[in-house]
Symmetry: C3
Subunit: 114 residues, 3 copies
């Protein structure tokens, strides 16, 4: 039950989005017990974002929401991998990327909560 | 002080959005002490979403954010009702819907925090 | 490592967005140790929002996400300032604005977590 949203101020070409989708589908396994089988993804390009008062470079804000807790070490590895993916696929400098985690206690699927 | 955002990869026709708005306005009373009088809603159709690596079916990601805590039983009932509403109004299969809860400690309204 | 997203149902003219960006860049210093040097901002105008079942007035939903905790008193001051900014720049009545806080335990930047 993880969810990753990727918001950036640059356009996300469809073929890049699909590539990132595939790579995030693999990366999510860094979190114990998580896999693409439960992963929902959201992409939002051409957003109005500012970092350090500026918007002249590519910027990304990534939110990872997961049911339960995976621990700081796993999150650290995932941040590294997500940053690598966005760098390689969209040329976003990791110094312009925030990856934020939310551990969720109540999460519903198929009409009831886990 | 609840807020419900509904994000989906399909279009949300205006008349459906209004219907869902009305039904969520009733459903929110499932949470003790909450009512449409304090409910804020957000709708986002035609979003780029993937679930289980695919985007060929209708998908929805719903976030329920509330000030304080209502307890797991109430959230479970609300998940059931929200899934029912999205199934009936937008034909989204509950097996393609995540409903995520966030209990919020600090919430501002009218210039100051509760 | 704060992030503030501003979502509203009215249009945000570019010159107003820049003004709000500048003012939020100053306001963030209300939170101890935070500054525009670490601030990421997101703006989303013309969103589909409802408050109290209606969408005929300007509405705003603001999310403040920060690494760590700043304490209720600082959040209260920030809510007051954010509401003032949105009132003055976009004529949104503070009684139509929610400002929600999220204290984040895991936050990544530049490829690794803080």
């Amino acid at each position: 039950m993880p969810y990753i949203s990727t918001k950036t101020n640059i356009a996300i070409p469809k073929e890049k989005e699909i590539k990132i989708k595939e790579r995030l589908g693999k990366a999510i396994s860094i979190l114990p017990g998580k896999s693409e089988n439960w992963l929902m993804l959201s992409f939002e390009g051409d957003s109005s974002l500012y970092f350090q008062g500026k918007s002249d470079k590519p910027i990304a804000f990534v939110e990872v929401k997961l049911f339960g807790k995976s621990g700081g070490e796993a999150y650290d590895k995932l941040t590294s991998e997500i940053s690598k993916i966005l760098k390689e696929e969209l040329s976003i400098d990791p110094g312009q990327i925030y990856v934020k985690y939310e551990e969720v206690s109540y999460w519903g699927f198929n009409g009831s909560n886990f």
